[in-house]
């Protein structure tokens, strides 16, 4: 059994949902197959020639002769496996979201995950929010001073926090803290056969493990973001008052001006809030599904768990930043319309 065996689902070309033989009953089963696949070829059994068995069932079956794969074949294989793993990712996402509305509900697991993902991330979110707000105020005061426009600090801080920094920073922090945790937990559950045990005990592991985490992240990330925004703006207030000498009342007035400036949706909801709250919702989905995906696809023992964790953090961070851009563009065009 190779410790170095390739640690993703990628090695299974042909086991994507559409192409699969009747085996394909879900991402997990395919992951399962991957685990097994590496076993027979990697295990160096019968290493001593003198222990040759002399009897066999009958003539060994015909095997298709294949030459060493060329570079094109290999490129083709790796491209295929990449496409298939993306497909797997979306299958997992689809199942996880669908199971939110299907019995049995694992309410207790969901609440526990909300605590794990939301409440326990509060500390880091408060800290990042506070210091980001403070540094924003400090930097913008330097720039605005040249134009004699320091009274606009509040506008700058609130716009940046609510629209961009709040959601993105909360997302990145949670990806680091929670995403890695989920991947490590599910990864070690896979390598210690606990996922198989769940399957065997008649529980759908996606329903039991993935859905509660996804649901919890979808609920908690927007809440964390609101807290992050608020603390950031308060941090800006502290700097504005004590370093730049702008009275709090003026600061908060400019904050409100900024929020109101872009108009309201449905008369009462500032359009900045729509931007600021739809993003963390999407990020919550990205973080939890990426973490679950890599966690469940873990192979190769403890080393594999480490790899899955790293991959989760890297992939979800990048996804957050990329998706943030496109989401911003989409929302801007939607909201201005």
């Amino acid at each position: 059994m190779g410790v170095r065996s390739t640690p993703t689902v990628n090695v299974v070309p042909g086991f994507g949902t559409g192409l699969a033989p009747p085996v394909a009953t879900g991402v997990l089963d395919r992951v399962y197959i991957t685990n097994l696949k590496s076993t027979p070829t990697n295990s160096p059994r019968l290493t001593q020639p003198q222990r040759l068995p002399t009897r066999n069932r009958d003539v060994p079956p015909l095997r298709i002769e294949r030459s060493k794969p060329g570079i094109l074949t290999r490129l083709n294989d790796s491209a295929k496996s990449r496409v298939l793993s993306i497909q797997d990712y979306f299958v997992l996402a689809g199942k996880a979201l669908r199971f939110i509305f299907a019995r049995p509900f694992y309410a207790q697991d969901t609440v526990q995950q909300m605590d794990e993902i939301g409440v326990k991330s509060l500390g880091i979110v408060l800290l990042t929010g506070l210091f980001t707000g403070m540094v924003l105020a400090l930097q913008s005061s330097v720039q605005l001073k040249t134009f004699g426009a320091t009274i606009y600090i509040g506008r700058l801080v609130s716009a940046s926090m609510i629209r961009e920094l709040g959601p993105v920073l909360a997302g990145l922090m949670v990806a680091g803290r929670v995403g890695s945790g989920i991947a490590a937990q599910l990864g070690s559950m896979r390598v210690t056969e606990q996922i198989d045990a769940l399957n065997t005990l008649g529980t759908d592991p996606i329903k039991k493990l993935v859905t509660p985490r996804v649901l919890a992240a979808l609920i908690m990330l927007p809440i964390l973001t609101v807290i992050n925004d608020l603390v950031g703006i308060i941090g800006g207030n502290v700097i504005a008052k004590f370093i730049v000498d702008i009275p709090s009342s003026l600061y908060w007035r400019t904050v409100w001006e900024q929020i109101a400036a872009d108009g309201f949706i449905l008369r009462y909801v500032p359009s900045d809030f729509i931007q600021g709250l739809s993003k963390p919702f999407v990020f919550g989905g990205i973080i939890s599904i990426t973490a679950c995906y890599f966690g469940l696809a873990t192979t190769g023992g403890t080393e594999g768990v480490g790899l899955s964790t790293t991959r989760t953090v890297v992939t979800s961070s990048i996804l957050i930043l990329v998706v943030d851009y496109f989401l911003t563009q989409l929302l801007l065009s939607l909201l201005s319309a």
Partner: protein, 299 residues
Amino acid sequence: MSESDEGRGSTGLDDAPPAQRREGDRKSQAVRRAIRSELETDASEQAGRPEERPGQPKPVIALSDVSLSFDVPILEDVSFTAHEGETIAVVGESGTGKSTILKLILRLLVPDHGMVCIDDEDITDLSFEEALKVRQKMGMVFQGAALFDSMTVFENVAYPLREHTHMSEDEIEQRVREKLEFVDLDADRVMEQMPAELSGGMRKRVGIARGMANNPEIMLYDEPTSGLDPLTTGTITRLIRKLQKELGVTSIVVSHDMRSVSRMASKIALLHERHIVFFGEPEEMFASEDPYIREFLGG
């Protein structure tokens, strides 16, 4: 057996995908190629095939002509039947696909060809949800016990009951105690402990208790005695026999511990190179003159 045979081995295992082609593998592949050519030159008659004997208790688990391959074939034309109350031990070298057979029975895998029947029902075409139902008839004991380490021992054993029955909390507690006592554990002492606090043998026993919590008609064991000291091995072996005797469950034991297998199996299936090369009673196997079987038993 000569070295010159090695040249013929181009049909060997070198059709593994590139991802699995590794330095260390190449050497063992050469060896295996040599073995394969050896087998080709000495392809003699098969040792044993599963057979249906009339007048026996009803078959509970039946594999017929099961073949499974991923990139390389893993099982070919594997057939055997486990009748009610029997304990079948599947033995063989590591990596011969022993555990795969358990996964086929649990329908975690589906064969490329052939049928897997549980209680005369072919489970190969079931949907995922239907398969979850069939699995409730079975209790599985994993190699490393696979206890849920976020739950206490009590919650672990109670898990299948909470998932699939409408038992009250009192009934569940009573059942958990009964099962823990069946596996010779002090229920009061271990119930609130976490799996990480238990020794390997205890964990395995909790695993057995969880597997049998639902009173399944089939028990599957994956290497139940591996990694245990001789005394604990004895205890686990006795436990499996007790389950078989007192509750009459049909069991499949995957193992390579011949000593304990000989003490609990009613039949042994020996897997070698993707095929079942022997299927019969332990005495028959120990008396066999077949060179490979002798080799296997001696080794």
